[in-house]
């Protein structure tokens, strides 16, 4: 079947197998930030935006994205990098495998809620598993980033 997808701002028209998953579709298009950590929609590593809303790309058929916009970390690099460096300053990325998915979901959170509490952060990101960091460092990084944003730091992206 044929689908039309706007992937990271670029329109793609492609013949696909009907059972192709969105995760495999975007990886086939070199969006390698999107990782697979499970087969049961439990890890959050494969988080992408479908029409700006975070979804698990392992649980969605590529066909469902027909006529929609899909964004991966590759398309949000500027925004992601600004935040990511706060995670780096905590050393909270260890193996890094979980980070793209977590960052996508964190960006979605920041867009929805400019001043989330620790509890809201934990709840929003609860589906993003990380086996290395114990989550505390990620939380410290998120807090530091939000503080920086609150101080109007948005303008001085390095």
């Amino acid at each position: 079947m044929q689908i039309n997808v706007v992937l990271n701002g670029k329109t793609i028209t492609e013949e696909i197998a009907p059972d192709l998953l969105l995760i495999d579709f975007v990886r086939n298009h070199k969006c390698y930030s999107v990782k697979r950590g499970c087969e049961t929609s439990n890890c959050g590593l494969c988080t992408v935006f479908l029409d700006q809303k975070p979804v698990l790309s392992c649980g969605i058929l590529a066909a469902r994205a027909d006529g929609h916009a899909v964004d991966t970390l590759e398309g949000l690099l500027e925004e992601a990098k600004e935040f990511a460096m706060f995670i780096a300053d905590q050393g909270a990325e260890q193996c890094g495998f979980c980070n793209p998915g977590m960052i996508m979901n964190a960006i979605a959170l920041f867009r929805e809620n400019k001043e989330p509490s620790d509890e809201e952060i934990r709840e929003y990101l609860a589906g993003n598993l990380c086996r290395c960091s114990g989550y505390e460092g990620q939380l410290r990084g998120i807090r530091a980033f939000l503080e920086y944003k609150k101080q109007g730091g948005a303008l001085c992206v390095q």
Partner: protein, 758 residues
């Protein structure tokens, strides 16, 4: 110190955080053959007939292999240094399959769809054999897991395949029975830890291809490039010169990737077909056919006097290595050698063990490596003893714990050359508010708040065995390249080793690029395990950099026409103190590449006769719902003595990560088999690792000690951090309920049932 002790960012931080293609499946070429395995549905069976004709006919299938096609010499998948302690009990494919999930056939084809179709078309007739599923039944059972003549143990580890023994042994000091019978109070209990999974986020995976010389190139997500090369050489029967193993970034290991779980299959395919191939384990395979923690039942008998002096400890461990012996003979040792020495007051101790084969998936290496199981047992027994003695468990420990300068008879007679365990415990108790909160507070609304505490230790390498190496060279612009074969699996060793190098060479950390691990280019290193990278490879880096510094000065002396002793070197330039003439590092670098036979490149190896233990204490505060049995972790406080902290950020995050893994093991992560030996917890749906909502607050501090034999005073950090949560949480649950749960995980259901029965 300028670099060591600084919270510098990880060298790969930006690439990892912006999702760059740096992992195996991002880098593998797109036209690889896809390799998958047909796995046994039976726990113990022999392949009577196997027909692959129909499978081979499927469009796109390149090859189907069975036991008939593979070499006959046995090997082990364990990544361990010579002399390999794990028995040679594996074949690439064996006619005798020994657990549900044991590979029966390898299928390679051009895409997943055709491989999946072919897998369904293989017809296998099994002769089903009686199996051993309970490890209590294994020793001297008439059913043998490894009846084959070709089984062999390379080391004297007390193995005997005719008795289902992968290893057995005993060590002691003093007459433990006599002392125990003379004690006023004893505790004798058995503690059970199941075969929990590392659950790194990136599953097992490897890609293979042949290079221009026809050599087998293997890019694998592994902690042990050199061991994988040996294992493949053994398995395929080809010389090591024909194999190159290297690693990209690794999506977590925790010991899982200290076993060559998946490498042999694509290696065999590529070696036979000449075509590139890759294997990626599903999460289900990673849960059910991999290398988890050894299930252990640790029996502890501990004796003390009324005044709280702990006098003797007797530990017996029964360990379940599963169908194959990877890491079986070695993990078990830590259950005694890294638990008993926590107590310096003992007059006698004994440690004995059996490691048995069963028809379950083979165990392997998991952070803590046996110490975790032993410490859960010993620390819980000590908490139970405190209860019997009616003593505060913190007081009891302060009275008996090992102290700096003490000899540790149960730790190979080594001396605790650096030990701040007393500080760790006292500070942890303060952080959690022990005085006010011990043992519990009834909130009056069906909830009880309570605290629990435990200590832990580990090693900093395998003494007298592990080898770490480093090559450092000066580039002609005054920057450096450091080559290592330790694997950064997310732990940040590339960064902390560069920090050590920068400290020696007085340069910015950014001036040292790090490369590895690659068997073609990195100097030999046993690999990243046994908590050895900081201590052993770190020392090799330090030695290499010190030597390079000398060489730089020699060449500078030549250039500045003086003796090296007359030079001042500040990392950027060498200065002749007599006449003020200078040569910059770049000038020295350029000079080294012209008319010079004394290369500014140094390789140093290091191996340590001792393995100084890091120590730690951890305390949990929980809230327990007496109706549902639900346990909520409110707070976890820990203080770690890892000697000098090389990078406080990375050490902290490792500690936090290890503690949360430990919380998972204590409360959530369960391993359940059905009656025919099939593992039920085969996905992240069934196998619950902690999310951010399951861990409360984790607070970590470091206690200062300085290890005289370590690089810049450092010891290890990677493994110890998983050891305290289980005993501390079980202690807190006991303080809340009066019930001791001696099998992990402690589920809400068990607590609720226990409360009802009380």
């Amino acid at each position: 110190m300028r670099s060591v002790g600084q919270p510098v960012r990880k060298k790969d931080a930006e690439a990892l955080l912006t999702g760059q293609p740096v992992y195996m499946d991002d880098l593998a070429s797109r036209d690889c053959l896809i390799v998958k395995l047909l796995r046994s549905p039976y726990a113990n069976a022999s392949v009577a007939e196997i027909d692959t004709k129909a499978a081979q006919m499927v469009d796109g299938i390149e090859a189907v292999y069975t036991w008939k096609d593979v070499p006959e010499q046995r090997f082990t998948l364990a990544g361990q240094t010579y002399p390999e302690p794990s028995p040679y009990d594996r074949l690439i494919l064996d006619r005798h399959v020994r657990y549900v999930g044991d590979p029966v056939a390898i299928v390679a084809g051009e895409d997943e769809a055709c491989v999946d179709r072919a897998l369904k078309k293989i017809r296998v007739e099994y002769e089903v054999l009686p199996s051993i599923l309970d490890f209590h039944d294994a020793k001297d059972s008439p059913v043998l897991v490894h009846p084959e003549k070709s089984w062999r143990a390379l080391c004297p580890v007390g193995a005997d395949n005719r008795r289902n023994l992968c290893a057995s042994g005993e060590s002691h000091e003093g007459d433990v029975e006599a002392v125990l019978s003379d004690c006023d109070v004893t505790v004798e209990e058995t503690y059970h830890v199941k075969a929990v999974q590392q659950t790194m986020m990136e599953t097992f995976r490897t890609v293979c291809y042949k290079d221009v010389y026809g050599r087998l190139n293997v890019m694998s997500s592994t902690q042990i490039v050199y061991h994988v090369r040996r294992i493949l050489s053994n398995a395929l029967g080809i010389p090591k010169s024909q194999i190159r193993v290297f690693k990209p970034r690794i999506g977590g290991g925790f010991g899982a990737k200290q076993t060559a779980v998946c490498e042999v299959y694509p290696a065999f395919v590529t070696w036979k077909t000449g075509k590139p191939s890759k294997i990626i384990f599903t999460r289900e395979e990673t849960q059910t056919a991999s290398s988890p923690r050894h299930e252990m039942e640790v029996s502890v008998k501990i004796g003390a006097d009324h005044d709280g002096r702990i006098r003797a400890m007797d530990v017996y461990t029964l360990s379940n290595t599963g169908a194959y012996g990877e890491h079986g003979p070695t993990t078990v040792g830590l259950s005694g050698h890294k638990s008993i020495p926590l107590y310096g007051s003992l007059e006698a101790h004994r440690f004995s063990y059996d490691v048995v084969y069963t028809n379950r998936m083979s165990a392997g290496a998991y952070r803590g490596y046996g110490a975790t199981q032993g410490i859960f047992a010993v620390e819980t027994a000590v908490n139970e003893l405190a209860g019997k003695l009616k003593m505060d468990p913190v007081e009891l420990r302060l009275k008996n714990m090992v102290r700096e300068g003490q000899k540790m008879p149960a730790y190979f007679g080594e001396t605790a050359t650096s030990c701040a365990l007393d500080q760790c415990l006292a500070r942890t108790a303060r952080m959690i508010g022990w005085k006010e909160k011990y043992p519990y507070r009834d909130l009056g609304n069906g909830k009880i708040r309570s605290v629990g505490i435990a200590m832990g230790m580990q090693g900093s390498c395998i003494s007298g065995v592990d080898v770490g190496s480093a090559t450092i060279k000066l580039n002609e612009d005054g920057t450096y390249l450091l080559s290592i074969a330790a694997s950064d699996m997310g732990t940040g060793c590339d960064t902390i080793l560069a920090q050590m190098g920068a400290e020696c060479l007085e340069c910015p950390v950014d001036n040292i690029a790090v490369s590895g691990a690659d068997t073609d280019t990195s100097p030999y290193d046993s690999g990243s395990y046994a908590s050895s990278t900081t201590y052993v490879t770190g020392t090799a880096v330090q030695h290499a950099c010190e030597k390079l510094r000398e060489r730089i000065l020699e060449l500078a002396a030549k250039m500045l026409e003086c003796r090296a002793g007359d030079l001042d070197f500040d990392g950027r330039r060498a200065k002749n103190l007599q006449n003020g003439r200078e040569a910059s590092l770049a000038e020295i670098g350029v000079r080294s590449m012209c008319n010079n036979a004394n290369a500014l490149q140094v390789t140093e190896s290091y191996s340590s006769p001792v393995s100084p233990p890091p120590f730690m204490a951890g305390a949990a505060e929980i809230e327990l719902d007496t109706e549902t049995g639900h346990v909520e972790i409110l707070d976890y406080a820990a203080v770690v003595d890892c000697g000098t902290v090389v990078n406080p950020n990375l050490a902290r995050v490792q500690t936090e990560g290890g503690i949360v893994q430990g919380i998972g093991m204590a409360l959530h992560e369960n391993i359940q088999y059905n009656q025919s030996g099939k593992l039920l917890n085969n996905s992240l749906m069934q196998y619950k690792i902690p999310t951010r909502l399951d861990m409360g607050k984790v607070r970590v501090e470091f206690a200062g000690s300085y290890e005289p034999t370590g690089p810049f005073g450092a010891k290890s950090i990677g493994e110890i951090v998983i050891n305290t949560p289980a005993p501390a949480i079980v202690h807190a649950i006991a303080n809340a309920t009066g019930l001791w749960f001696r099998t992990l995980p402690v589920t809400s259901e068990e607590i609720a049932m226990g409360m009802l029965e009380k």
